[in-house]
Amino acid sequence: MALDIKKFISRFVEEAREHIKRLGEGLDAMNRDSVDSENINAIFRSAHTIKGSSRMLKLSAITETAHKLEDVLGALRDGSLNYRPELGTLLYRGVDAIAGMVECLAKSGDGAALPPVDEALCASLAQAATGEVSAVVIPPPSIDLASDGRQLTAEPTSPPLATPAPPAATSAPPAQAKLSTSDTVRVRLAKLDELIKLMGEVVSSHATLRQRLLDLRLLESDASPQHWEQHRARLHHFGQTLRDDVQNQELLMDELHDKALIMRMLPLAMVFDSAGRVVRDLAHSVGKEVECAVSGAEIELDRQMIDKLSDPIVHLLRNAIDHGLETSAVRLAAGKSSQGHVTLSARQDGGWVVIEVADDGGGVPVEVIREKAVRKGFISAEQAAGLSDQAVVDLIFRPGFSTSAIITDISGRGVGMDVVKQNIVDDLQGEVTVETRLGVGTTFALRLPLSLAVMRVLLVEVNGLPFGFTAQYVDELIRVPHEEMLTVVERNAVIIRNEFVPVVLLADLLHAPKRLVKTTRSQAGTFDHGMLLVVVRVRNEKLALAVDDLLDERDMVIKPLPEHMRRLTMVSGMVITGRNELVSVLHAPALLELARQMRGQASRTEAASHANAGGAAYRILVVDDSFNTREIEKDVLEAWGYHVTLAEDGMDGLQQARAGTFDAVLTDVEMPTMDGFTLTSMLRQEEKYRDTPIVIITSREKEEDKRRGIEVGADAYIVKGDFDQSSLVDTLRSLLG
């Protein structure tokens, strides 16, 4: 029988990965402190094992590299060679080359597909073993700053200039220091035993249920009208026993489920462990001094997430080193230490894990990004002026914003940030935030659910069809009387605690068909008690979705959609209900985006209808701390032809007002840093705003508030509860003449 070499290759890959990891750790240890013989012994053994087992499978390129590596380690072990940092770098290259070949093998499963051995590297290693490390030519890893930012890692095995590159080398995958994870998972035997024991329990519990079925048949056959009382007692008893059985079964299932899920959990170390080396390689390639600190690697995450985390994390690390950290000279001039610091940390926060990549570099240059965004045509100059700093920084997540041209020009951040965001938000149901301070540094925070498999899900009903929301996006559930609904730019909105929140019928958004057979659970009449709204929130943006009914809320297993359907952005997965129905779990960020598009269309239609409204040319400053309120007021005003600039609190408003010229100011009252009353009175002290119309829009209805508004110099006071767009526009018109 022919030998099934494939089976052996996959075993070899598994084993080699372990040894490569050990080699990496050993070299890290050598690099950090003194060289101890035990450590050298351990890594020597690893290199030796790789050599031996690869030779058995005739993987000569791996054998050759491992052999040369072993020689150097052997020389270190017997003391004929002393450890030096340059030697460490060379050893890392050797390990990386082996790792690259092993990954190539893992992909192809065929030893013949391996790239040829890197002769130059082997020669360097051989030379090093004799003690002549100084002569070694180590080509710097090439960092590709291509616009897609897809290439994450250094390419350390390209041959030195003296040797012409063999043609095969171009097609062979580079030896990547990629943070990779394996396809298999090791489970402690004890855990597996527990699972098997539980499975046994489930089987016996099933046997009990079978017995109950027999009991029931017996009851049936014994039933006679004469002994009705006795029969009823037996039936009651049967019911009780069955209930106990079901409860037992439930406990068992829960436990079984928990135990099975734990097996999917892997420590973040799978991704974090190699970060140190990636940082070192990248820092070396751009000629910066960087120290990397890692913490929280012990936190366990669903393996599905671990797999998808390595790319975004490498992206962020790259970014921190490439663009976040300044060169030593710049750092020293700014009074910082010459060595930059990158921190990769993870911490648990309730049912979430927060992973942060922080640097102590120059921070994101907000003004440069603002200017670039306008020049690139992403936003208009007016829009740019109205954006808050945070909103400007968020522009780096826009697809296409982070092209290499921009990056090199502005030395700012943004290599493939859209890819990072997509990975985290779309694939992992998480959030990405960025905090930056000029001259102090930047922190990217990835917020992720602990497990993708089980999540808290809220089930609602629309047109007789169930839909789910993952709890992380649900802000609140409210019922609003119809009369409290406002119409703004042909669209509904409600005021929730001093904030305008747009309202959309979920059925319209989803184009949900009407289920022909009315389900029993859906009761007509819910509409009479007002609209039931699910308020979803993504960062600071809210959207109220009108639904017919609430069905359930509990932890549910989320199943992935078939591969080819994953491009449907609106659905992040499916859950199965107790009635065995498949329910789409809606992806709130996509719903917000869709609602925004619908709003855009509505605004344009409305603007067209008011084309001759005469609002044109007037510049209005809108000050409100709620994102939604700002956006809605902006929509209304732009629909009527006004030019709108936004400010997110009183202080921001004052600065914007001083920096520009506005024909009218609309402001909220309650805002952080400076309230609307103060803003109004401050503006009145400015020469150019002495007579400019100022309109206060607030949910404060009290007479004394209105009086105070007038006292500080406001021209009009609109209560949000009475708000409708025509009153705002009419007020403005009458004030502006």
Binding site: L510, L561, P562, N580, L582
Partner: protein
């Protein structure tokens, strides 16, 4: 029957029988799943179809293109339901209660395809499957792999790999 009790003639005739059977089997055949859509008969290669399901509940998924009718639950796995009506330019079926679902895989994806009914699963001699005529309408040319006669009706054999490949490229 005990071997010793066989006469020489019997043994010889058995061998001839066996030989004749081998000759019959030697001619290459293809397994086809023949199904009906709006009165027309079509077929997929048998090895591409993993399972035939009937009486399943199809669940709506928002944002799907019209050819994607929703999803079904196949023993815990979620599979999509594709309708070929649009592709083949056939009118939509009105009554879906008697539909069958062919669970197929090809071109790296897996999905069910809703058909009005399954006619038969048969082994057909390859020599009986003819090349599609050049007069085939434009929209069918790429996806038809052959034409055959079965029970006095024309059956159009469709290329599932091609359909799925087009499908996964076209979506999104």
């Amino acid at each position: 029957m005990n071997k010793q009790e066989m006469t020489l003639d019997q043994v010889l005739s058995q061998r001839r029988e066996a030989k004749r059977e081998i000759v019959n089997v030697d001619e290459p055949t293809a397994k086809l799943v023949i199904f009906e859509l709006q009165g027309d008969w079509f077929a997929f290669q048998g090895e591409k179809i993993r399972e035939i399901l009937s009486q399943v509940d199809v669940f709506f998924v928002p944002g799907c293109p019209t050819s994607l009718e929703g999803v079904i639950n196949v023993r815990g796995d979620i599979e999509s339901v594709i309708s070929l009506h649009e592709l083949l330019q056939l009118p939509e079926s009105v009554d879906m209660s008697s539909s069958s679902y062919l669970l197929g895989s090809g071109a790296g994806m897996s999905s069910t395809i809703r058909v009005d009914k399954v006619v038969d699963v048969v082994d057909v001699l390859l020599s009986n499957i003819h090349k599609p005529p050049t007069t085939l309408p434009e929209h069918l040319r790429a996806i038809v792999s052959g034409i055959l006669q079965f029970k006095e009706k024309t059956v159009t054999a469709l290329d599932l790999d091609r359909i799925f490949a087009d499908y996964s490229h076209g979506l999104g």
